[in-house]
Subunit: 240 residues, 2 copies
């Protein structure tokens, strides 16, 4: 189940709102923090070379992994959501015009559609009603939170929600450290996309550090540590 059955689209793009991106950044930062802590722990532990059995009792490792698993799953879930594309409506292509059609128009449409199947004017009306309502609501919602930045597509509402049937292909990849597991993390690695392209990347992040998704704050040297760790990640199980 590899990470993605990459769509055969000519130009597969995914969309994310700025907020989504931001949230993603935050979440990544959180993981970074967590990892940082783990790394710290690691250092401490290794330097001490001894540990409390008691710890084990109290903080069941299983639980810890469980937690991490949750978190990771969540992140991956979000990612999947964000990377998805909207699904379109079925009848849409016929009704591309967002504005309320005249009665006559409705009639026409009904006729037209009748040729292809059972349909009543009522259906058409409903459809338009719902469409308007939802359009409106969507707009409203969006306004509430974002409104910054460049407004590009906004009025469009759904004019063409059509064709794009849903696909939402990206399935996830993350793996959960469930105690032992070997995990397969999505193989990946092949691409090396230019980090510059990643929106969540901060310029000041050194080219590799950003893989940890964190801003390199001066005081975040731990992260650097974790970075090293990352270096070794490769020879973990990653490739399986």
């Amino acid at each position: 189940m590899m990470e993605l059955d990459n769509q055969q689209q000519p130009n597969p793009m995914k969309v994310m709102t700025d907020e989504q991106l931001e949230t993603l950044r935050k979440q990544i930062a959180i993981y970074a923090t967590i990892c940082e802590r783990l790394v710290e722990m690691h250092k401490t532990l290794t330097s001490q070379q001894d540990l409390a059995a008691e710890l084990q009792n109290r903080f069941s490792l299983g639980f810890l992994s469980f937690c991490l698993t949750l978190v990771l799953k969540q992140l991956s879930f979000h990612l999947s959501l964000w990377s998805g594309v909207d699904k379109g409506g079925r009848m849409v292509s016929l009704y591309a015009d967002p504005r309320t059609p005249s009665k006559q128009k409705i009639k026409d449409l009904t006729e037209e559609l009748s040729q292809h199947g059972q349909i009543a004017e009522q259906n058409i009306c409903n459809w338009f009603q719902n469409r308007r309502a939802r359009s409106k609501r969507k707009q409203h919602c969006g306004v509430g939170s974002s409104n910054n930045k460049n407004g590009e597509g906004e009025v469009e509402t759904e004019t063409e929600t059509l064709n794009e049937k849903r696909k939402r292909p990206e399935s996830l990849f993350v793996v959960l450290p469930d105690g032992n597991n070997n995990n397969v993390i999505g193989t990946t690695t092949t691409t090396s996309p230019r980090p510059e392209d990643l929106c969540f990347q901060s310029p000041e992040m050194s080219s590799d550090l950003h893989l940890l998704g964190v801003q390199s704050n001066p005081r975040d040297e731990h992260l650097v540590e974790s970075y090293n760790l990352y270096d070794h990640v490769e020879d973990y199980d990653m490739s399986g």
Copy 2:
């Protein structure tokens, strides 16, 4: 190519290429790997059975608590959604109410939740809707045959569905350690961290138990275990 056009969202959207997504995945995968590794390592170390009270005091405990706190907060939060615990949090009661909350409430919820992750009113609406619908359906179906135990009857809908649903609180949004936060990457324009608003804030997260494991499902042993830990969470100092 333009599949993005069908976004009826007013917000400006950004696009991610597959490569970008992949990189993102990679990042996440790395976290997963790191966490996994660390957990394993931790396990190994703990198997040595030596004691490190010192460690515990000065570090491990703090860290673990920190991690767990993050997660537990999430868990408790979500559980609260389902269990309707009224610990003085305003949100809780809102969630507890099976009926549809007013618009304003939804707005509030959205706001509050936004502090912890990307969320839109639509999500809230969906959540409530689905909840109602499924509650009802379950009720219908279930009534016919089972409902043994304490026959809550049917009106309760909520109460019983609760028991069924709440076992797996997996959808969480991660919380940022905003307290000291090194803040993240990027600009984070929207965030206005008002800790007061954090629903999790309530330390008295009720008696703990049902927050964590809830019905202590066999599967949730981890949670139960963590319960002990949770006791200590309070004195973790993550800022240090």
